[in-house]
């Protein structure tokens, strides 16, 4: 007899598979990657800014149809396949599984298309040479094709932060300065380091 955890895992995998299949049928790899990006953005926004909206999608006082309509209205500008899946999740009060669906989506995307999405964060925009260098390195590391998703974050001060499939390489100046700060604070020999 399957446990709740297994049921939830299957449910997450089903949502992710439906989303990936729909996006891929709609526009191929580009659409699939676009859906991934949109899903990540939605998760970030809901998590940091719209707790009230998130609670409303889990509220039993609303009917399933009302929750679905609310999701469709809010995410109307997103990919139609993503909007449909989000509406279904809202109707079934599974909106809390969104981040797990995103993780499962990334894993299935990697398996199905043999493509790994690597998130790259820097303080300046990458040029083609840098993209080539990063792509070569990550493809060599991961053993799959790589698609870079670039983002600029000035708080890194310098360097680069790369993450893929829950794994992360932090080569930012910010982290190095933090390490240096910790070493300076923890050293008891007068600060010689």
């Amino acid at each position: 007899m399957p446990t709740n955890r297994q049921i939830r895992k299957e449910k997450v995998a089903t949502y992710a598979a439906a989303l990936l299949d729909g996006a891929y049928e709609q526009g191929g790899q580009a659409a699939a990657l676009e859906v991934r990006d949109q899903l990540e953005l939605i998760i970030r926004i809901v998590r940091t800014r719209s707790v009230e909206f998130s609670n409303a999608l889990k509220d039993s006082s609303y009917t399933p149809e009302q929750r679905g309509s609310l999701a469709r209205a809010v995410f109307a500008d997103s990919n139609p396949v993503l909007v449909d899946i989000l509406a279904v999740m809202a109707e079934r009060k599974d909106f809390a599984l969104l981040s797990r669906v995103w993780e499962s989506y990334g894993e299935q995307l990697e398996r199905k298309l043999n493509v790994t999405v690597v998130d790259v964060v820097t303080v300046v925009e990458l040029d083609d040479h840098l993209r080539e260098v990063i792509t070569k390195k990550t493809e060599a590391d991961l053993g799959t094709k790589v698609v870079l998703r670039e983002r600029i974050d000035k708080s890194l001060i310098g360097g680069i932060l790369m993450s893929a499939g829950g794994r992360r390489i932090d080569a930012s100046v910010l982290s190095q300065l933090e390490s240096a700060r910790n070493v300076l604070k923890l050293s008891t020999d007068g600060g010689e380091c």
Partner: protein, 205 residues
């Protein structure tokens, strides 16, 4: 003494009787004085005077022997008894005083011994208390010194840590400012390329 007095009284009595007998048996001597007032007659008694005097003497002697002597003898005996009692009492008092003196001496010795023991005991107690107090004071002093030393060490470490933290924060802030403001985009890209080449693998994480 009483017996001596009795012997003396009896001696006087015998002497008086002998004198009376000689006077009675030698009347010629008395008569001789009447015959001639000179010579030996001058020292011989006149019988007409001697007889009454002898009788008077014998009466007196009898009265004294009969009534005076017992009284005198009783006084002597009483006096002798009194003196004897006094001597016995004084002897008893002397013996008693000597016994008391011995008792006092013994008690004095005991008191001295007890005093010595008390002094010795007090000295031992005082020495023990002194040693105990000294030991406790030393332990407390050592604990206080150790505590103060630990507090100083803690304060010193905290001050050093605070100073290091402050220096670290300042250094990092300056470094961040310099890197963030002074580097151009191209320099940033060079740093990124170098970091990518030097960075570890995804598989290593």
């Amino acid at each position: 003494m009483n017996r001596k007095a009795s012997r003396m009284a009896r001696g006087f009595g015998s002497f008086a009787c002998a004198a009376a007998a000689v006077t009675a048996l030698c009347p010629t001597l008395a008569f001789a004085s009447e015959e001639s007032s000179g010579g030996i007659n001058a020292i011989l008694p006149q019988m007409d005077e001697f007889i009454p005097m002898l009788i008077a003497f014998l009466i007196l002697w009898f009265i004294l022997a009969k009534f005076g002597w017992p009284l005198f003898n009783g006084m002597l005996e009483k006096r002798e008894q009194t003196i004897k009692d006094s001597l016995e009492k004084s002897e008893q008092a002397r013996i008693e005083s000597e016994r008391t003196l011995e008792e006092y001496k013994r008690q004095l010795e005991e008191a001295k011994s007890q005093a010595s023991q008390i002094v010795a005991e007090a000295k031992r107690t005082g020495d023990a208390a002194k040693a105990d107090i000294t030991e406790k004071a030393q332990i407390e002093a050592a604990a206080m010194i150790e505590k103060a030393r630990a507090a100083i060490e803690t304060e010193k470490k905290a001050a050093i840590a605070e100073l290091q933290g402050s220096v670290a924060d300042t250094s990092i802030a300056v470094a961040s400012r310099l890197i963030g403001d002074d580097l151009s985009d191209e320099e940033h890209r060079k740093i990124i390329e170098r970091y990518v080449n030097e960075a570890g693998s995804f598989n290593a994480n």
